[in-house]
Amino acid sequence: MIEEIKNLRKEIAGTEITNEETLEAFRLKFLSRKGLIQTMFARMSEVPQEERASVGKAMNEVKQQAEDKFRKGKDSLTQATATQLRATDDITLPVAPAYAGSLHPLTQTVNEMKDIFFRLGFDVAYGPEIEDDFHNFTALNFPPDHPARDMQDTFFVQKSGKENAEDLVMRTHTSPVQIRLMKETTPPIRSIIPGRVFRNEAVTAKSYFQFNQMEGLFVDEKVTMGELIETLVMFAKMMYGEHVKYRVRPSFFPFTEPSIEMDVWWGSDFDGQWLEILGAGMVDPNVFKAVDLDPEKYTGYAFGMGVDRIAMLRYGIDDIRILYENDIRFLNQFTG
């Protein structure tokens, strides 16, 4: 019996499979129900009991051998036919990548900033882009003859000439939403305010008559400047990396006192520079008075930053105009 199995092995090895016909002939001869292998298994009863284990093993091996040979033969025949497919079935034919939807880099930057401040427990608020004098200037402690109230700096939509009171402007900052928030809700208030703002500036590589800001406001009892700075540092680290080099320095804004600006070091240690990324400060007592909050009871901080500038730094954009040109070759770079 063992001998017959050996012969069968040789026979299987010696049979060639070159096309569909020989493949089928192979199957019929060896693997079909009446083929040599099944026939051989049927004769198992003839094998003496003590040899059955070794014979059974040999039989299974030869069956495996035939099946492998059949499969390999079949695969190579399939591959051979593949080369005969139609020209347009060629999977290597080039295609244009599908059109992808995407967010504008300014929105991506705002979203990133929002995510950071959401983690720090801030809410988000919005307001109008056309503002009245009270919200844009007066309540924010701008004196009546402040230069920002000049036609040179601010777009007026309506100018009354009567003590500014009825003037309407394209808002020059997102800070008027602070006033709306403080008038409409009661402390604690902890919110960021993103939005579009306007300045009467010529369009150049460095300036544009519209841009985007993100404001932050926190009002409660016993809010300190230490907390303000810590919040800004946390923001800078999350935005620019754990090892960002930063400094704060005194500055001036009508609606905060004390006021500061924050710089981050941009570039290498040897060839870099301080770049201002935001202005901030403790809410000025006059602002609290304008919204009927008691400055003795409440303190608060506010900060504001330019989204366009942060986006430009982040992506290495050197001309602000490209943010509003909507060139698809530009937008295509901001997918993903």
């Binding site: 347009t88 967010l103 427990g121 809410d123 988000v124 003859d145 036609m151 777009f155 540092v233 001036f252």
Partner: protein
């Protein structure tokens, strides 16, 4: 504002390098935006004596000079016309380096060389080559009394200087001068400042014999002091003074004007020098006029000065615009003999008004506008007069005319140290606060254990409240030193607003539908807006930055079309854009502001090719139905599709209505609009009013899972013949209304017009999918519904079921 570091060091003794000083100043609030080196120590430059000037044998334009430089005689080739024997000139010796960089940024080193065959052993320099001025018309001619061979830095009394460009914040008028800046540096370094003005006003006689001063307008002018210097010789200032002024970017003029500029930049008091002899009737009158005047200022411009502007007049006529600029009629000319020095305090808002209405800002008006020390006039006047007498060889008249109708006393403010620590988050003690304030020249006395009574010097008009003093202590302490809390009190955040949730969903859906977000201008040209709105409804800026941006957008369409045009011009073929943003129009009921409707909108738009020609597809343009399908998917994802109805507008746009209000419009860009924006491929846009959707209460979609039916759906095809005038939308609306909730889906699988239907007829074939969640539908369930639909369509729209 420019500050010279070597000038600054006249008032404080410090070893800080210029860079260290700049950093310290920045951290106290005087931001140094730029640090520049000015001038030179002039190593290798000496005073030469020109012995002989000969023509160059081989070059007409050049001369050969023999120059004595002390121990040596040099031959130097020189191209200047003005070189002459006997002159004392600056000579750069071999090895010296010119202080001013050449165009390529490198500096020229003087070498021994042959110029057109003649050897040249140095260089005779012009003022511009030495970096002293822009004058390159010829070589610089020095004082003939200078000793030959003297090092040039000694001869010119110059050395290398560092100049800080300081970005001064508007609250710090006190720091708009060298002593003011020195005061901050001294405070932070805790060193003494030498202030030449820090003395009492001299108690000397008055000048009323010489000059009669009358302030008519005491609200605009609080003080007017004058001193007189006689027998002056107007001429060049000494080198030290010229160098001081040059370092901060001023052009030296003469020893009278230079002194006034020096004092201005030293202490911040603007001064004006009048030619005393030109003042009619020896009178000074400070007043304004109630009519416009023409007045010629020192810069020889005849200006129309509006009524109400404050003037300085003599006995007959105006001689200066107060605080801004003097007049030609009283100018100090070369042959002037007697000078009257004006030192005054003008009301800041008065000078701001003058400067603004004239469009003229000067070093004087800049300082008056921000508020100078009201008690400085007399001391500044004394210093200027003494210096002027010294430099002009004039005689200083004893006494001063000092009219001082409005006096300003130092303010007193209480500072609570606990409040300081509470606001800053520090634990500073009262002694520290007192020390810092003392270093800033703010006198303090203790009032109780926790409070300081502070006397504010009059040069600090910005300090009016306790919080201002807290800032003073904080900035000198350095905000970077405030200990930072390890933990902050946790304020429970509120849930995100429905608006925020909706807005972020809008962006998510639009990008998911494969639209690219654009960001376009809120301001368009009037001509561009003409396509969408008329003058009556839209808003304009009163002071546009350019004609391209005069009008507030009433729709996002204009920006979209401009973005299309921009990209089509750059050969783009396929554009799918969206934008969210505010649009504005006049309205009787305002959104935020009375009379202004300001809504947030979404625009989705397509332009060009759905496919461009390739091996797989024929080129195919986008159609309105591509956008319609995206738009309705948007509504579906927003969860508002079931509540919407549609209506075709007069001009063929499709309006979507939510609770009877149009919240979206789907439109083909018409030929005329495409023409106006120069768009040559088919374009479509849909604009959705997000504010209205939010107001209607559909901002937040709560998703609730609906069980999926275990039973199969039943499809039924029905084609209806109708008049051409009947729209598919009308048919669909009636089908939906009639079919009831079992109708799961409605599709149109064929639209047909043909002769066999009859003239003016069309056929629309619907595939209706019915589904019951509780059983398997059969033809017996569906047919009665379809019959009912057919009856309704027939009676309402005259539709007939095609068999």
């Amino acid at each position: 504002m420019k500050i010279s570091y070597s000038w600054l060091k006249k008032y404080i003794e410090t070893d800080l390098s210029p860079e260290e000083a700049a950093e310290k100043l920045t951290l106290t609030g005087l931001e140094v935006e730029d640090v520049e080196t000015f001038g030179s120590d002039f190593d290798g430059f000496v005073v030469g004596n020109v012995l002989k000037v000969m023509d160059h044998p081989y070059a007409d334009q050049l001369k050969l000079c023999k120059v004595d430089i002390g121990k040596k005689e040099l031959q130097i080739v020189c191209g200047a016309d003005n070189v002459a024997p006997g002159q004392k000139v600056p000579v750069a010796k071999i090895g010296a380096t010119l202080p001013i960089p050449m165009d390529d940024g490198s500096k020229m080193k003087i070498r021994k060389m042959k110029i057109r065959g003649e050897s040249s052993e140095g260089m005779i320099c012009s003022e511009s080559e030495l970096g002293l001025s822009d004058d390159h018309s010829g070589i610089m001619v020095l004082d003939e009394n200078l000793q030959t061979g003297l090092p040039l830095n000694k001869a010119l009394d110059v050395s290398e200087d560092t100049v800080f460009e300081i970005g001064l914040t508007p609250n710090r008028p006190d720091a708009s001068c060298h002593i003011g800046v020195a005061r901050d540096l001294a405070a932070v370094e805790e060193i003494q400042i030498q202030n030449p003005y820090d003395k009492d006003e001299p108690d000397s006689g008055d000048l009323s014999k010489w000059i009669d001063i009358n302030i008519e307008d005491t609200t605009q002018c609080h003080r007017y002091a004058a001193k007189i210097v006689q027998n002056v010789t107007v001429g060049e200032s000494p080198n030290w003074l010229k160098n001081r002024l040059r370092a901060i970017g001023l052009r030296p003029i003469n020893n009278v004007v230079d002194v006034t500029n020096f004092v201005l930049h030293e202490i911040g008091q603007p001064l004006h020098a009048f030619n005393y002899e030109k003042l009619a009737k020896q009178k000074i009158v400070v007043k304004s006029f109630d009519k416009d005047l023409e007045f010629e200022t020192l810069d020889e411009v005849k200006r129309k000065v509006p009524a109400g502007t404050l003037f300085i007049c003599d006995g007959e006529k105006p001689v200066a615009i107060a605080g801004v600029m003097g007049g030609v009629n009283s100018e100090v000319t070369e042959n002037a003999d007697t000078i009257l020095i004006e030192s005054a305090y003008f009301n800041p808002s008065s000078i701001r008004k003058s400067s603004k209405s004239l469009g003229l800002q000067t070093d004087s008006s800049y300082r008056f506008e921000r508020g100078i020390d009201p008690n400085l006039a007399r001391r500044a006047c004394e210093r200027a007069a003494a210096l002027m007498a010294e430099l002009t060889g004039g005689k200083l008249l004893d006494g001063c005319s000092d009219i001082h109708p409005v006096k300003t006393d130092p303010k007193k403010i209480r500072l609570r140290v606990r409040r300081l620590n509470q606001l800053l988050g520090t634990s500073l003690d009262i002694d520290f606060a007192a020390k810092v304030l003392h270093n800033l020249e703010i006198k303090t006395t203790t009032a109780g254990t926790d409070e300081l009574e502070c006397t504010i010097p009059t040069f600090r008009p910005d300090l009016t409240r306790e919080v201002d003093l807290i800032e003073e202590v904080g900035r000198i302490y350095d905000y970077n030193n405030i200990p930072r809390p390890k933990t902050a009190p946790f304020i429970s955040p509120k849930p995100l607003s429905s608006w925020e949730k909706m807005h972020s969903r809008v962006h998510r859906i639009a990008t998911r539908l494969m639209y690219k977000e654009i960001s376009t201008n809120s301001l368009l040209s009037g001509k561009e807006e003409d396509s969408f709105s008329d003058e009556k409804t839209r808003l304009r800026t009163l002071n546009p930055v350019s004609q391209e941006a005069t009008t507030l957008r009433t729709t996002l369409l204009g920006g979209f079309l401009k973005a299309l045009n921009y990209n089509l011009n750059r050969n783009a073929k396929q554009l799918r854009f969206y934008e969210t943003g505010h649009v504005y129009r006049k309205s009787s009921n305002g959104t935020w502001i009375d009379g202004v409707e300001e809504h947030s909108k979404l625009l989705m738009g397509l332009c060009g090719y759905r496919f461009t020609e390739n091996w797989k597809n024929r080129a195919q343009y986008f159609t309105i139905f591509d956008l319609k399908s995206d738009l309705e998917s948007f509504f579906e994802q927003m969860g508002i599709q079931p509540y919407l109805t549609t209506q075709v507008s007069e001009n063929g746009e499709l309006n979507y209505l939510l609770e009877n209000t149009v919240i979206a419009t789907l439109t083909r860009i018409s030929d005329s609009l495409a023409g106006a924006f120069d768009i040559e491929l088919p374009a479509f846009a849909a604009e959705v009013d997000l504010t209205l959707i939010h107001q209607a209460g559909y901002a937040v979609r709560e998703i609730t899972y609906k069980k999926i039916s275990r039973y199969p759906a039943f499809e039924y095809d029905a084609a209806y013949t109708v008049d051409q005038t009947v729209s598919a939308g009308q048919l669909s609306d009636f089908i939906r209304q009639t079919a009831g909730e079992k109708l799961e889906k409605l599709e149109v699988f064929d639209v047909y017009e043909g002769k066999n239907l009859g003239k003016g007829k069309k056929s629309i074939a619907f595939r209706l999918t019915f589904l019951d969640r509780n059983k398997t539908l059969t033809i017996n369930d569906v047919e009665p519904i379809v019959q009912k639909i057919t009856r309704v369509l027939n009676s309402k729209l005259g539709a007939k079921l095609r068999s």
